[in-house]
Symmetry: C2
């Protein structure tokens, strides 16, 4: 299938699908300079760690295009690059992609030279992301039986990446092969990425989707209506424990209890060999406003406390397989995770 | 502790705490006739099966007060009683309480006589509900250790009953005994009874409460931060399986996995000996709008399907104890459930 129009280079601007408007409106914004792109990243017009990173890589091209050549060029460019770095504090891909572009820039001479090479580098990052998605899609689709009904959580889709996603890349490939009957998408409180974004992506591709409250997933699994659970991942520890959007652990418990395979799609960029187990992963705590308000509605009394972790950890023993762009890790152990990781070292 | 001001007879009207306005405003409405009370029930100003039943019982008093004496009195009264029956389709307590009042009315002579006896009967129903809550509170509090942090789901509280609740009755009693450190309340999508109502109740009583997304409960339990889970129940089958608000089964799985006691507060009115197991319980499916909109926000694409069950079934083997007004059922089996049930038959 074709990538979603999450981001697209238009020759002199970066066109972004404005995710703040989804699922109600499909609106695009063209960012022709670093200020407008930085604002788009900061205000979540584009979100998802891989998508933000690639957007920032194109932002470096905009930085070069919009800085006058001459004696102030190199300094002016670097000031704009720093502005992109300051947009979001946590997404590691953002800093990673900006460092790549800083390195490219260091080796260039003229402004024209820089524009060409930065664009080439950004295009490469985009292509690598799409290739990884396609590869995960192919490996993952092999695991599904015909006529499968699958359950997913949050948005591990094209909207969070260059256009094809991780967990949803598998679903897209399986759909193309005629293996998918239907997808259930957890709405994914508090930010409702499943309700707003995953359902929008799937509908756009023609895949039937039912959205459910997160808390209803366990009885759906118990009722025998789910053939496989497929989720994304934010980090894979050396022992195969994974951190992913809050609620993933609950799904894994229910899937394990009822013998339903639990698959994790994780590009190698999320493998972290420096973290021994999931217990070492620091879980980001999010703000109160995500639970207390929605649109014009106040949902909590002012005096109520809150607990709003962004992620949880699912232990390796509950995971049937981890699917990355170099293959399938199963059964999961420190050895099989290290093996796939060393495969990268060999190839990259 | 004192009952919440869920409903109160004011001499010639029924005063209701308007739950539609919670948690933002504490507003009361006085219903002086059957039409205004029927509208309050229909539009969820008062909700929770026991609370609706008792409100309707007082509605019968209003029906008598607002019908002229004379030859048309008895017929006029019964027309108004039927209007109350038609307010909500599913809550069995509504029909049960109306039948009790119909029976009381049948035995009365004059209009004045009817008013006195209907009011006495409504007061009895209110008192019985409060007595059952207090009794469940005392039995349940015995199960908790000092300095307990407990997790609850949905609103099994004073707002759903005559003022003291079921699961929350236990928490209130344990709080009075100094056993409660803190309560975690699942927000309980889609209608957010935990966020809006349970937190409001607990804060009003001075009990510290943190609200969390439903999907975060499993990792809270895994982290060892919960000493007991306490939930309500909508139906108890003969084998001890229970139906309760969607999400209860997920909590029970996580509690069982991590060795945390899982308690169900269930007044005997919810025991159903005619239902052998949880598999026989019909699960009500709710509408799409609960998932698709909230206030001014549209959360789903128009083409997205949905799955929105109101309840799920938790099997007896995951339940540590069922607490009713006649005692504690534990371990749970068809025999221990039947024993507690026969105790009712003896005493009532």
């Amino acid at each position: 299938m074709d990538p979603l129009p999450t981001l697209k280079w238009m020759g002199d601007s970066l066109r972004l699908l404005d995710q703040r408007e989804l699922p109600v409106n499909e609106v695009y914004i063209d960012c022709g300079d670093v200020d407008s792109l930085a604002s788009a990243i900061r205000t979540l017009a584009v979100r998802g760690a891989p998508a933000i990173g690639i957007a920032a890589a194109y932002g470096a091209v905009l930085a070069a295009i919009t800085t006058d050549s001459g004696s102030g060029f190199r300094e002016g460019f670097l000031v704009k690059l720093d502005k992109l770095s300051g947009t979001r504090p946590t997404a590691v891909n953002l800093f990673h992609c900006i460092e790549i572009q800083r390195e490219v820039f260091r080796k260039t001479g003229t402004r024209e030279d820089a524009i060409v090479l930065l664009l080439e580098s950004a295009d490469n990052l985009l292509r690598e992301d799409l290739d990884a998605s396609r590869s995960m899609g192919c490996y993952g689709a092999e695991l599904l039986e015909p006529d499968s009904t699958v359950l997913t959580h949050c948005n591990a889709g094209g909207l969070a990446t260059a256009g094809l996603g991780t967990a949803l890349a598998i679903i897209y490939e399986a759909w193309d092969r005629g293996l998918i009957r239907k997808v259930y998408a957890d709405e994914t409180r508090p930010l409702l990425q499943g309700a707003r974004l995953t359902s929008w992506e799937l509908i756009r591709t023609g895949i039937p989707v039912d959205v459910l409250p997160d808390s209803a997933a366990a009885s759906l699994i118990r009722d025998g209506r789910i053939d496989a659970v497929i989720v994304g991942s934010d980090r894979v520890a050396a022992n195969g424990d994974i951190a992913n959007k809050i609620g993933t652990y609950s799904l894994a418990l229910a899937a394990s209890k009822h013998g339903v395979p639990f698959y994790v799609a994780a590009p190698l960029s999320t493998f972290d060999q420096a973290t021994d187990t999931g217990a070492e992963i620091i879980i980001e705590q999010r703000g109160r406003e995500e639970l207390s308000t929605l649109g014009d509605r106040q949902l909590l009394p002012p005096e109520a406390g809150f607990w709003n972790p962004a992620f949880d950890v699912t232990p390796a023993e509950l995971i049937t397989a981890i699917i990355c762009e170099k293959g399938i890790v199963s059964p999961i152990s420190s050895k099989t995770v290290a093996d796939v990781h060393s495969r990268v070292d060999m190839f990259l």
